[in-house]
């Protein structure tokens, strides 16, 4: 829904942002339940992780998460640039974030594959929740990257219309929440080693 005519500077948050905020409420509930499941299984287990599985190594996942959080800066910049009608700056900022987020995802996929070689989701409930939690999180990062790409394409071909201004703000909101969730996910993932 684009606003064709604004009566005066908008007082309330546009519908698109409300929609994304509510969608993210559902997604945050999903992650809350995933993390809840992780600790539920942890509390009923005799040893966590089970014998034969090494506790996760801490450094790389934490560094990766810090890198992901750093991309919130260009995302924030893109959102402000869009509101100030600076299309080029918005596209550039999203593109910078996109590259870093892509590297983050690639690294996480490598780590995921590495972990899969160490232990399997089919052998223990620990493996099941460990890989499911991470896979769901990575899927959200992937979705965010696709949103970045879509936004860059739309801004480049369609211009910074009122509709896509809201779009950039919606994208930013998505990344803030996924970034926040990443912190909880990584702390849960590393809980046995912390």
């Amino acid at each position: 829904m684009s606003a064709t005519r604004i009566v005066r500077p908008r007082k309330s948050v546009p519908n698109g942002i409300w929609g994304m905020a509510l969608f993210l409420c559902a997604e945050v509930s999903l992650f809350g339940l995933l993390i809840g499941t992780y600790f539920y299984l942890d509390f009923i287990a005799r040893s966590w992780p089970p014998y034969g599985i090494k506790a996760p190594s801490v450094v790389l996942p934490l560094v990766a998460t810090a890198v992901l959080l750093a991309t919130l800066v260009p995302i924030r910049f893109a959102s402000r640039a869009a509101r100030a009608d600076r299309r080029g700056a918005a596209i550039t900022a999203i593109a910078i974030a996109l590259v870093i987020q892509g590297c983050y995802l690639a690294l996480q996929i490598l780590l995921f594959a590495h972990d899969l070689n160490q232990f399997s989701p089919q052998r223990s409930a620990y493996g099941s929740i460990y890989f499911t939690l991470l896979a769901v999180h990575h899927a959200h990062v992937l979705l965010g990257i696709l949103l970045d790409l879509a936004l860059i394409w739309m801004l480049a071909t369609r211009g910074l219309t009122e509709y896509w201004k809201v779009g950039v703000r919606v994208l930013a909101l998505y990344w803030y929440v996924v970034g926040g969730v990443a912190v909880f996910v990584v702390l849960t993932q590393l809980a046995p080693s912390l």
Binding site: M1, T4, A26, S124, S128
Partner: protein
Amino acid sequence: MATVVTPRGQEHVDRLERIWAPRPGLLGWLTTTDHKRIGILYFFTSLAFFGAGGVEALLIRTQLIGPNGHLLSPQAYDEVFTMHGITMIFLFVIPMTTGAFGNYLLPLMIGARDMAFPRMNALSYWVFLCSGIFMYAGLATGHAPNAGWFDYVPLASKTYDPGLNIDFYGFGLIFNGIASTAAAINFIVTIFKMRAPGMSLNRMPLFCYAFLAAAGALLFALPSLSLAALFLELDRQLGFQFFSSSRGGDALLWQNLFWIFGHPEVYIIILPAFGIATSIIPTFTHRRMVMYPLVALAEVMVAFLGFGVWAHHMFTVGLATITTVYFAGASLIIVIPSAIQIFSWIATILTGTPEFKTPLLFIVGFILYFILGGLSGITLAAIPFDQQVHDSYYVVAHFHFVIFGAAVYPILGGMYYWFPKLTGRMYNEWWGKASFWLTFIGTFVTFFPMHIVGIDGMPRRNYTYPADMGWTFLNMLESIGAYILTAGLVMIVVNLFVSYFRGPRAGNDPWEGDTLEWTTTSPPPPYNFPVIPTVTSPYALWDDKDREHDNRRLERGEGLLDAGHQTPASTVQDAELDEILSMPSYSAWPPITALTLSGLFAMLLLGHYFIAAGFVVLGLLALLAWHRNEADA
């Protein structure tokens, strides 16, 4: 209140007619984004599923009419009662209340011209339809879900249920959950942002509060069901270990996740019914609701407290005493907001001048059965008693009074109440009352004896029972009641069907209703209101001055918003006019996106993961194409 349209006003109306003219024919229905058309599609689809669920109920009752019945094999019986539960909850009550009633009425009640996200609204409908067909495809191919609607593991695990049956359940519910989540988001944004200027939160009809509460609960409850179903399918299809205790998993994890969704779900089902009741009662008692703010708060409280009671479904699984006591206490506390509403309804009826027409009769029936179901609910919150009657017909009696007696009665009453608005015709009052009494008696005769056989020890979900248990007479009575009930429901459908063709003209406002949907024509035009209505109280239509003011504005051409498909958006609390939105008029992408999702879930079901990934890509491309149209007018 009749609208007097002058020639000047008529010119403005004609202009709006041209702008909002719907696409003709089948294509118009397939690509529609009009909330009223989507509401009607929801209505007929969920009514068809109600018919299917009703046939399943009749099969169950016919099987149990006497001891040692053999109409259905044990396997078929399992599938039938499971599909009955799934159909009634996910494919009938939720889509009927939020989908049909909410979609059609909510924008009309708040004085908007459409939902906040009209295309996503269409997507919700098509996804719901496809997910319903998906689950019924299981029944058609002989693989219907068969482990009960709450589908406990380990019975539902691959070891004990190796066929595709449970996979239809798992993927079907994730699929269905997408539709409900999208609908919930849409309702909340619509209620918050699309209200006519002047309809601040304290002037919003109570109907909208009920739908707001239900949508909020839906939004936060559904992830739990989707996650539980995801775990289940990972266990079943890829051999994960979430629910297998030998590998560190836990069967109770399923029960917890399911009921974290499942109990709020009960309130999601019943809150819209509360909303319908609070619309019908003021109209037929000719007075405002008693305690408007308390009722609004109670509706929101019910949805909120509903999240804290889930383990009362699990009193027999061996939780710690302290846990069960907490959940028993919480289950008793939730009585308070429910009782506030019951007192308010009763007080409004007693202090008003009630006219007992068919819709109000159904609401009185609803109040009676809700009290009955509520009282048996209090007995079930008592832990020792619950442990005795757990999984017996006593529980079946309880939740049928709550879900059928309390949630479906307002739907039936609402069908009569809004029939003149949807069709422009009146139903037949005599047959309406007759159908109420038949349904009312049928409900009682079907479900009340279940309390007694339950206390006598008859377990639920058994496909038959021996002759010497002393359950024969009461079971026969229940089955006869089920036929009476069916006759009542058929009478409602026939009454409305015949009235659609033969009923007398109803006019805009046959009831002297209190909410905005009655100001516009019956059926409403595609743009709902020629001028965006003025609102100064929660009973907008009883403010005659505002309506006269609107007529004058129509004549002057003020507030027409006729530069395209336009509707106002307002601020959240005070509903000040904030911006004029341009809405999409039609889009083919929602049904196409729903089709790609159908392909995705079908391939996941069959284990073709690469093809499934292909459908994901197609779905994303469809979404991209969808957004290339920025709400073209």
